[in-house]
Amino acid sequence: MIELTIDNMTVQAHEGETVLQAALKHGIEIPHFCYHPCLSIAGNCRVCLVKVDGRPKLMPSCNLEATPGMRIETVSEEVLAARAAVMQFIILNHPGDCGICDKAGECRVQDYHVRYGEIDPVSIEPKHRKPKLYDLSPRISLDNERCILCSRCVRFTREVSGSHMLGIVERGCHSRVARLEGKVFDDPYSDNIISICPTGALLSRDFLYKSRVWYLEPVRSVCTGCARCCSVNVWRRRKRWHVRSLGAEKNAAAYRITPGENPEINGHWICNKGFDLHKAMGRPRALAPLIAGRSASVEEALQEGMKMLSEAVNPAALISAHASNEELEAFRIALGSRMRVYTREDHSPQPGEVLEDDLLIRADKNPNSRGVRELFGDRPYDATAGHDLVLVWGDLDDYAPLGKARILHLTSFVPPQGQSADLLIPISTVFERSGTFTNFEGKANRFDQVFDKPKLVQHAGELFGGLAA
């Protein structure tokens, strides 16, 4: 350990740690644009300048290794003046259209301008014009005027995702971020550059102008896209900003998904499938119980389910790998001994989807396969076992492989077209309940309830007791 002094406070740093990292670790705020804990150090934004005792000039703290006995000043007049000057320079060609920029409210340029600068550039030259609303990819819109050339996105594609798709072209004030010519920017992790962009240069086309960010609040949830179980933040509307005349469905909509920082599982990143989690959850829902295709009340459906279970001679259950550990345990206690339990993969990889890579994406596209395996083992459905009732839990595209058995289907989304189960009970999605998934490494990841469940929809964990009684 190294001891150094930052603003008259003695802090400890590891060997090789930079001054900026040591300061951030101890709650001393030094502004920074280009520094990101998961990327290499570029040292090009110069807003993290600090005064080092004994050196004639200010030094960028992100690129300054901590040495024993170092004395750093981060709030002296000299440093503040340099910071204000750097901010003035950075926003020299910044269009300042915060009013229509989706980043406003969580933008580093905006925050630091208000906090450290608020000096308008003195240039008499007109601001440089660069391409706006440039579609970097079908998912991302690039506004080169807002870009401050911190190169975070470029370093991300080179160091983290490895696609090497982005670069900075041209010189001086004509510099701009561009993708490889003639190539489609189809990096499976591309949306992360929206999250790490310190300004509004890179924006999600899906979220574009959907809402101002201060109307929204993040709720910690877990991505159900694959067995990695990445932590995500689901952004819902704050209660204070619930709309009335624009339609109540906007209050119960997930506006966007951002990575939830979780060093144990996914670090700072998630894949594009995770960024699209709200679209996967926005599929048409099953909203009312159906008895042989006819809608029924919840009580009727539960009565019917109890009757079906008590009449069945050889019942079986197909367990969902999208169920939380708590629900699986509830099932095991209530029905586990009465039914033959089979496991399955709810979702298999879609054509064109990245199957598996070294970073995050796993070939198993279900979140809780490991949790299911730990409780019930690994046993695919056996159609020859002569079951007369199958409790299907989770999404299922086709009932035909289940044979002639009666079907009790618990699902969140609308069942297959043209087929109707003998009893269908709608259950809540991952956004509407809380619980844990166990990822493929055996690490449990907790998700919180984001929205209230629709009225006729049941939590699966609360159903089994009623069905077993």
Binding site: G99, I100, P131, L133, Y209, R244, L246
Partner: protein, 188 residues
């Protein structure tokens, strides 16, 4: 309980005689009554009562913070860029804006698709006008006409806010080209 008030009426002899003062009062009210009656008989408007909602009061101040209007650009498009500053500053939370993206117009990529002001909640404080960076929302002398039996029907939609057609005070001229004379590469 006897209490002395600072503006305790000091009655003279005339008032204390009572009956003559009462007759004088009756003369005042009577003359107003018969004056109005005469106007009414001769088919003119009598008393100054405005029969809301059929009639609108004529004596609003020109500075009255009445209903909101949205100004327009020279080409007739709505001036509002849907930045939500008005909705954010509104202490009554009565403004709701749904934005739309227009990728073809580089200068105005964002515009309101729906703009709702809930007059059952509006307190007419004028903060929205002050917060607007584009001079897009103003409050004019007219009052919002929302006599209704149901609070949910008191929302002013975008087309109602845009129906302001002033003769004397047109919406400000908005630069559709950058003022420094340089043509945006995407506008060319």
């Amino acid at each position: 309980m006897n209490k002395d008030y600072w503006n305790k009426p000091a009655m003279g002899l005339w008032e204390r005689l009572y009956i003559f003062e009462v007759i004088r009062g009756l003369c005042i009210t009577g003359s107003v009554f018969f004056g109005n009656m005469w106007k009414w008989l001769t088919l003119r408007k009598g008393a100054l009562t405005a029969y809301y909602p059929e009639e609108v009061r004529s004596d609003y101040s020109p500075n009255n913070r009445g209903r909101h209007v949205l100004t327009q650009r020279e080409n007739g498009e709505v001036q509002c860029v849907s930045c939500n500053m008005c909705a954010t500053v509104c202490p009554a939370y009565c403004i709701e804006i749904l934005s739309t993206a227009n990728f073809d117009d580089v200068f105005h990529p964002k515009a309101p698709e729906r703009f709702e002001i809930d007059y059952s909640r509006c307190i007419f404080c004028g903060f929205c006008v002050e917060a607007c960076p584009e001079d897009a929302i103003r409050m004019i002398k007219d009052i919002p006409d929302f006599p209704a039996f149901d609070r949910d029907t008191m929302c002013a939609p975008l087309d109602l806010l845009l129906n302001w057609r002033p003769t004397r005070d047109p919406a400000k001229v908005y630069p559709t080209q950058p003022q420094n004379g340089e043509v945006h590469p995407w506008a060319a």
